[in-house]
């Protein structure tokens, strides 16, 4: 026996022993107890659904989890591009024009605004801070946009603004989770997961839910904001890169041919299928489907995700920076993905947390630079989708996780070195465009200093309900059974914002 043969023999023996070890007496008792219990439980619970009128079948087919499905109602939008400015951009320097606030600039904040309120950093009595940008009205809809977004200001007639969005979370991670998963705590599926769970995806060679990040850092809530929660894991967002290979290790390594790759995936799948025959866990079938998708993706993803084959004038339109990971590249990529039938593209751009604690976090420096990095790309995205006839069926959403205070931040009672604002939950702006949303419309209004909404107030659940509505779902009927009850993206809240639906 050669040394290699001996090693192989040892390996096989060890594998056999491991397998035998899993059938101990304890194992038998555990399995049979659980099995009998589960049988009894099943027959008991079977009665619970008796006579129920629920018509929410589980849409998950483990062998073909991403096959395209029809929504229960006619959807206006076939795909969604969600542009999330992580860190929360200041509505007061972008869309919510408050001349009254200018008059209060530098004054102590009135007690009435502080009583009973909690802020992330503000303590004591902060000073009021007037708008740090000049505003003008644009388009036929006469919407206010600041000088920080000169390109986007030409697009207001294609957009519906939500001016009085509020949240109940004043820290980044929970607020981001709330917007994207419907709960400030971990464990719920994200909106993109719900969308791909309900609709599958048109292109079986690409993931249905793609996530792209820029700004040099991940969003604070981490990967959970594109997680699948209790939905089968196949519906989680697939994070891709706009620089280098779109997915790490997507290329076959040297010496691995396409045939060999196929053979190895077939072997892995065969063994997984055997495992499924033993355990009947549908997640194993998902895994099999994912291996197959990954194999197909190896060919199609580099092709679709390569923005270099776009003509020069498109690059100029978006203001891309080839070879770099940046927001503009991600936005162009988002358009390409939607064109290829990807259902939900989620972009996160980090760096909008303008507290005023440093130059890059200030309203007069950092925020302006962030605006410059997104202004051209988002404008180009809307125009490009429009000229391709895709804006009609693509819903574009732009927003952050909360707003910013009309007060200047005084961290621990001391004035910050630069002009900045603290986290604010009561009022901020989000806009939507395309996908059956009204054009040139503003819904909701804030008070004279932009502190809270006074009409048309909406929250994260209303936005989720509206997005699902545009995709053809009734958010109250779209559920998934988990822990013995049906779960919704919008939990027990949310109303479709009919005012912005065309």
């Amino acid at each position: 026996m050669t040394r290699d043969e001996l090693n192989a023999h040892r390996l096989i023996k060890e594998a056999q022993e491991t397998q035998l070890r899993s059938f101990t007496r304890r194992h038998f008792l555990k399995e049979s107890a659980m099995g009998l219990g589960a049988l009894a439980m099943g027959s008991l619970l079977g009665g619970c659904n008796f006579g129920s009128k629920s018509s929410n079948p589980v849409l998950y087919d483990p062998a073909h989890p991403l096959l395209p499905k029809s929504p229960p109602f006619l959807g206006k939008a076939k795909s969604v591009i969600y542009l999330h400015m992580a860190g929360a951009p200041s509505q007061l320097e972008l869309f919510d024009y408050k001349p009254e606030l200018m008059k209060m600039d530098g004054q102590d904040c009135p007690q009435s605004l502080l009583a009973g309120k909690k802020f992330a950093f503000i303590t004591g009595v902060p000073k009021m801070l007037g708008p740090q940008a000049s505003f003008a009205q644009h388009g036929q809809s006469r919407a206010w946009v600041s000088e920080n977004l000169p390109h986007f200001s030409t697009m207001v007639d294609d957009v519906s603004f939500l001016k009085a969005v509020s949240t109940d979370q004043f820290n980044h991670a929970p607020a981001q989770l709330l917007i994207h998963t419907g709960s400030p705590r971990l464990g719920r599926p994200s909106m993109g997961s719900w969308a791909t769970y309900g609709l599958g995806t048109e292109n079986q060679n690409l993931p249905g839910f793609v996530v792209l990040t820029s700004g040099g850092s991940f969003p604070d809530a981490g990967k959970s904001i594109w997680g699948s929660g209790f939905l089968p894991s196949v519906y989680q967002g697939v994070q891709c890169r706009s620089e280098g290979d779109p997915v790490l290790f997507i290329k076959d390594p040297n010496g691995m041919s396409r045939d060999l790759r196929k053979a190895s995936i077939d072997a892995i799948n065969a063994s997984n299928e055997q495992e499924y025959a033993n355990y009947n866990d549908p997640e194993i079938l998902s895994r099999v489907a994912q291996y197959e998708m990954a194999y197909r993706m190896q060919i199609s993803a580099p092709e679709v995700m390569n923005i270099n084959d776009e003509p020069q004038y498109i690059h100029e339109m978006y203001g891309t920076q080839p070879g770099k990971a940046c927001f503009a590249n991600n936005v162009l990529l988002a358009r390409k993905l939607v064109e290829k039938g990807v259902r939900y593209v989620q972009l996160f751009d980090w760096g909008w947390d303008a507290h005023g604690d440093g130059p890059n976090n200030s309203l007069n420096i950092g925020l302006k630079n962030k605006c410059r990095s997104i202004d051209k790309p988002i404008t180009a995205l809307l125009l490009d989708l429009k000229q391709r006839g895709l804006l009609e069926e693509t819903l574009v959403v732009w927003g952050g996780e909360f707003g910013r205070t009309p007060m200047m931040e005084n961290r621990n009672g001391v004035q910050n070195p630069y002009n900045g604002r603290d986290h604010h939950t009561d009022a901020f702006t989000i806009w939507m465009a395309g996908g059956g949303i009204k054009k040139g419309y503003t819904h909701g209004e804030t008070d004279e200093i932009g502190y809270s909404g006074i009409s048309g107030k909406v929250d994260a659940f209303d936005i989720q309900a509206t997005i699902l509505n545009q995709l053809g779902f009734d958010h109250e009927q779209f559920t998934y059974p988990f822990q013995g009850r049906p779960f919704r993206l919008t939990d027990v809240a949310g109303k479709v914002i009919h005012d912005i639906v065309a």
């Binding site: 029809s70 006619l74 039938g341 302006k368 202004d375 009609e392």
Partner: protein, 469 residues
């Protein structure tokens, strides 16, 4: 909390407590009747004790019930009936217990058991009617009522009497069950003019002419999580249109006799009013995305073959027979197009972008009469192919981006009456013909694309922090 509210608090336990004696007494009656059969003789010993328990429970329920009825939220007549039935149940059950002690005849005991069952049923029924409304059970029979509009569609909304034909039915279907003849929660009734204007224990419900100040509207607009929100969140809610209708009616003076046409109407309220007209209620689905008429199911084998070939064919929604087809990962080969042309009546949305389609292929699709949206972009189709679209009268959306179609081809689409968007970016249409096409298609949203986002100095530079602070 004042001392006075304690009886009120105890009264509120009535709906919970009441189920105990119902269950216990029915059990006692059942045991008694079972003992007729000698097999169950063993139960006999327990019967008096169960009667005693049930009887005591009934007494407690009667007391709490009496306290609850003092809140004044309930209709007097029905409360009276329920009250006396309840009291008689308590008395009879305790009486039966005494009968056992006196060892009366079995037949008499059986008779009282039957009487008691009838009495309990009646008491329970009237009690239920008090909480859920007298039409609670019958409403399950005409189940359709649930999803139905609270305001039945009127034939001509302008000629309708605002109150009688619209407001009253709305109040009847959404408010009367708690604020009507049977029940007056918060001492408020909304079923006649006098009661509406009188208001309830919190004052006036409506202030004619000022909807924002009217308590009724305020409560409708509260978030449903607020406990003052009306209707209570578990009850059917008013739609946006219905709230707007009420708001408008109150703003215009809450008149009980005038016709809609006689009241002032803003531009905003007109479409809302129109939605209450017969046939105008369907606002959710824009007419035309899919033809309104029904269609037979497409051949399942045909769909399966198309799917096999990589074409995504799915119904446009849940259980519709209308289909959408997408060639996102498929090529438009003659074989596949031939299959596709079999979906004549059912195919309404077709995305065949970048699938290698040419004029010859497009000709094969000229019989797809039902198509509403067609995306032909990124294909080698040209003017000749446009002739194949001429007869597709339902077409609303035609995407010719990056095709070889020129103005001559586009011209052929001018008789498509429903056409509302036409995309011509990167087509072969000459810039000079743009004006001509715009004249030819006055109602159509023509998009020639080619948008430019200029690069400003600010786009490529950054704001720098001051050098020294």
């Amino acid at each position: 909390m004042t001392l006075l509210s304690i009886p009120d608090l105890i009264g509120r336990f009535h709906p919970v407590l009441v189920h105990l004696p119902i269950g216990i007494l029915l059990l006692a009656c059942l045991f008694q009747l079972l003992t007729i059969n000698s097999r169950y003789a063993a139960l006999r010993a327990s019967v008096p004790f169960v009667y005693l328990l049930g009887g005591l429970g009934a007494v407690f329920s009667s007391i709490t019930g009496y306290l609850l009825s003092q809140s004044g939220d309930y209709d007097g007549d029905m409360v009276g009936l329920h009250q006396w039935l309840g009291i008689s149940v308590s008395i009879i059950s305790l009486g039966v217990y005494l009968m056992y002690r006196k060892k009366v005849r079995e037949a008499l005991l059986n008779l009282t058991a039957v009487v008691l069952i009838v009495l309990i049923t009646l008491t329970g029924h009237y009690g239920g009617s008090l909480t859920h409304g007298s039409d609670y059970i019958t409403s399950a029979l005409n189940d359709e009522g649930k999803g139905k509009a609270a305001v039945p569609p009127v034939p001509n909304v302008q000629q309708a009497v605002a109150y009688t034909h619209m407001i009253q039915p709305l109040l009847k279907n959404r408010c009367y069950s708690c604020h009507g003849a049977d029940k007056q929660k918060g001492k408020l009734r909304l079923d006649t003019r006098e009661f509406i204007l009188k208001g309830g224990e919190d004052g006036k419900a409506i202030l004619p002419g000022s909807a924002e100040e009217s308590e009724l509207i305020k409560r409708l607009l509260l978030p449903s999580s607020n406990e003052d929100h009306m209707p209570p969140k578990e009850k059917p809610q008013l739609t946006q249109e219905e709230i707007q209708l009420l708001t408008w009616w109150i703003t215009e003076g809450a008149d009980f006799n005038k016709k809609v046409a006689e009241l002032k109407q803003s531009e905003k309220i007109k479409p809302v009013l129109l939605s209450f007209q017969t046939g105008g209620a369907k606002t959710a689905e824009a007419p035309g995305d899919v033809p309104a008429e029904e269609v037979t199911k497409a051949d399942a084998a045909l769909i399966a073959q198309l799917k096999q070939a990589g074409v995504v064919v799915i119904p446009v929604k849940g259980n519709s027979n209308y289909l959408s087809a997408s060639f996102v990962t498929a090529k438009a080969t003659p074989e596949i197009l031939k299959l596709l042309s079999g979906l004549k009546k059912q195919l309404v949305w077709l995305n065949i972008s970048g699938a290698g389609l040419d004029d010859k292929g497009l000709k094969m699709l000229s019989g797809l009469n039902a198509v509403v949206r067609i995306n032909l972009s990124n294909n080698a189709v040209a003017d000749q192919g446009m002739a194949s679209l001429k007869e597709l009268k339902h077409l609303q959306y035609v995407n010719l981006v990056a095709t070889k179609v020129t103005v001559a081809g586009v011209e052929q689409l001018k008789d498509l009456e429903r056409l509302n968007s036409l995309y011509l970016y990167q087509s072969a249409v000459n810039k000079n013909d743009v004006g001509r096409l715009k004249k030819m298609f006055p109602k159509v949203n023509l998009d020639f694309g080619g948008y430019i986002v200029p690069t400003l100095a600010k786009d490529t530079t950054e704001v720098k922090p001051p050098v020294s602070k």
